[in-house]
Amino acid sequence: MLTKPTSSDMIEGVMTALAKDVLPELTSERAQVVVIMAQGVLQAVRQRIEVEQQAMAAEHNDMTALFREMAAALGETPGAEADRMRARARELGGQDDMPQVPSFATINGSYRELSQGLVDSMPDLDALIRAGNPGAEKALAKAREYMGKRVAGDFATNVAGVGMAGRG
């Protein structure tokens, strides 16, 4: 995966282009309003993407606890409504807690540190291979096995469609 530019950086780039290159060229008032709305939607996505998974995991655990606490507050209250509340406490409140998802910055920073370590390993392996070390050839093959998977994943997640706009 790429740690830079982040998805948020990419969306910000689109918003800037809309403001700088598209909006001034639009003569239709309706189109201008649509672009301004699009910028609002994109800004909302930016705010959401870097906290979405963390917030969902944390709130999942808050909600399971909530179901248990609500049922406990009702105690032994009789009736169908109270029975349904206790049933939800058992079924939904009984779900296992989600593991806490580290913050986007933590995951991104740690991934980047490891990737940089791989970059730094390449000249070392190169020097060892040139010195005739057979272990270094094996180590490079291991690295390439991982990087082959990684480049395939990067291709699948970063390339949209075929062809390039503006090229014949």
């Binding site: 830079k4 530019p5 282009a17 190169d126 390439r144 082959g148 291709f155 949209a160 503006g166 090229r167």
Partner: protein
Amino acid sequence: MREQLQEFLARQWPDADEIVVEEFAVIAGGYSRETFRFDAHVTRGGARTILPMILRKDPPPAVGILHTSRETEHNLLQNVRKHTTIPVSESHFAEMDPGTFGQPAMLVERVRGSGEVSALFNGGRNEHLAERVATELCEYLAQLHMADPKLLNPRGEIDDPRGVGIDASSWDRYMDSTFEYYIDGYSKSDFDALPLVMDAYLTIRRLKPRPLPLRVVHGDFNPANFLYDEEGHVTALIDWENSRMGDPREDLGWMMQMDVLSNTNIFGSVKVDGGFLGHYNKITGFGVTEDELNYFRLFGTANIAVPVLSALKRRVEKEHEELLHLYIIQPSMVSLMAFAQLMGYPIPTGGA
């Protein structure tokens, strides 16, 4: 811009009674220059001639991808026209004063011909012309590589046109200084940590092939950089901005690479002498092998990767706000996949 053009042409052609710029329009596409088309209506002694022209203008430095000189390109085009039969646009002027058009620029002839290369292949309407076009391309490339570099590059302007420390005094020095440019250039182009790119640069250095004479190479010989006519003749090789002294196999490797990535079939369309490589080898006597071709696919990809990834890094670090550079992350990913395939990485099925 139209008025600036008219004023500029009037200064260049003081003998003209009147110069009018008509049909001025932006040409979309082309990632490294801003390009405009127009017709210059030039009246001299009551006679009017219409000159179809193109203005190629550098983008601002931070936005630019390939930092080479329009004056150098202008001089090379003139020398190619003078000393070979390779069809290239007549370069009328290079204007290096940024005060005239905002950035250095060049004005070249707009050559007739189609750039619709996709029509030549995969059942396209010009498929019957593919063999002739591809064969001519092969022969023009061979002619370029057989031309005396002293004639095409008399002042050494394209020994190191990017100004990055390339030493073209011998093949060995050229290759070694280019390896250094790639490896040192990594730190200028690592918009993210890219271990595969570093592996590619080091692999290219480890696998240095046998020498060939250094020649003028086009530098971006690919299926998008030529025009052809309705009879299947190549009417122009275009976009010489990345030309340099180099190993002739660079042009072959890059064409093969882009042929694959563009889903065209220039290489497979030459039938004489066993195909493109056989025909090229027969003319040049260079005896280029398939293995060498694959090496120079990797080498050529690196040569483009360094400036493209550097431009991307400048965008990521917010030196400018152009969307284009974020968009080219996608072809960069395609290039990284190509790097991996050329180096024999095990790629999981379905990854590309």
